[in-house]
């Protein structure tokens, strides 16, 4: 089993989120898992649901779009455009959450960097948001989903007690 550790999240400025995670694999494989639709489908939704579509047009100006059927029953979709691609090294792309009012204006820019040391890869995701309110909202989303899962589990426990 690859030793992994948890994601580390920090807030370098009022409008940014920085996510860092180390993987027990060389960077060309992390890059492959990150950019190949059938592999994206296996990890991107985490525990939140199922990825029903992953489109990747991996070239500068190309678009990406991921759709997830969330456990709670609704669909969420994200899309964006690749701005910079350095194979196995770095991807810069915009990111839009389609359900949000004024979604395009609230687009973030995500810079993903893959750095390999001794066969292990550190992935950093620097998300730049247009303002602090949107940045905070993105972080709140994690809290909401976390709470939703807790509620779901609580419900399961409650049902099992019947």
């Amino acid at each position: 089993m690859g030793s992994s550790g948890t994601a580390k999240v920090t807030l370098p400025t009022d409008t940014q989120i920085l996510i860092t995670r180390e993987f027990d694999a060389p960077k060309h494989l992390v890059y492959k898992a990150w950019t190949t639709p059938e592999l994206i489908k296996r990890w991107w939704s985490g525990d939140h649901g199922t990825v029903t579509s992953a489109e990747v047009d991996l070239r500068v100006g190309g678009r990406w779009r991921y759709v997830m059927a969330a456990n709670s029953g609704f669909e969420v979709a994200f899309h964006g455009e690749y701005r910079e691609i350095v194979t196995n090294e770095r991807i810069v792309a915009t990111e839009v959450f389609e359900g949000m009012p004024g979604a395009e204006a609230a687009a973030g820019v995500s810079t993903n960097t893959f750095t390999e040391t001794n066969g292990r890869t550190t992935l950093t995701i620097l998300a730049q948001h247009p303002n602090r309110e949107i940045r905070d909202m993105v972080i709140n989303s994690g809290m909401e989903t976390g709470m939703q899962e807790q509620m779901d589990r609580l419900e399961q426990v409650a049902v099992s007690l019947n």
């Binding site: 999240v9 996510i19 898992a33 990890w43 939704s45």
Partner: protein, 125 residues
């Protein structure tokens, strides 16, 4: 690469007159960074941050109001020190977002193990 996992009803603002607001100001975060290294008199803060004393004092007052900074007088000096307790909700706030990403990465770990295996097999034959 998506950064976000939204859920319905997510738009809860984190802007109340508490520690969240106090640390939203970059200068105040700088002050906390300095104080994280130990107790300091206000003159040190002024010198280290290169800001006018009235401005530093104003930020210190905001930090004291939300309980992030304590003050005590030692002789003629006013000493300031950090109190991390009000930061706990902020820590928790970020943690839940972190958890959401960790779940995703655990799945990515599984995919990567398979890719490594495949590459090994490919290399052997």
């Amino acid at each position: 690469m998506p950064i976000l996992v939204y859920d319905v009803g997510m738009a809860r603002a984190a802007t109340t007159a508490d520690a969240f607001n106090a640390v939203a100001e970059p200068r105040r975060r700088q002050i906390l960074d300095v104080l994280a290294g130990g107790e300091r008199p206000v003159n040190d803060l002024v010198a280290m941050l290169g800001l006018p004393q009235p401005l530093v004092s104003k930020h210190l007052r905001v930090l004291r109001e939300v309980g992030l900074v304590d003050r005590r007088d030692v002789g003629r000096q006013r000493m300031y020190r950090i109190d991390g307790h009000p930061l706990k909700p902020i820590h928790d706030w970020v943690k839940s977002y972190e958890r959401s990403w960790s779940e995703r990465f655990v799945r990515l770990d599984v995919v990567l193990e398979e890719l490594k295996e495949k590459e090994k097999e490919g290399g052997n034959g």
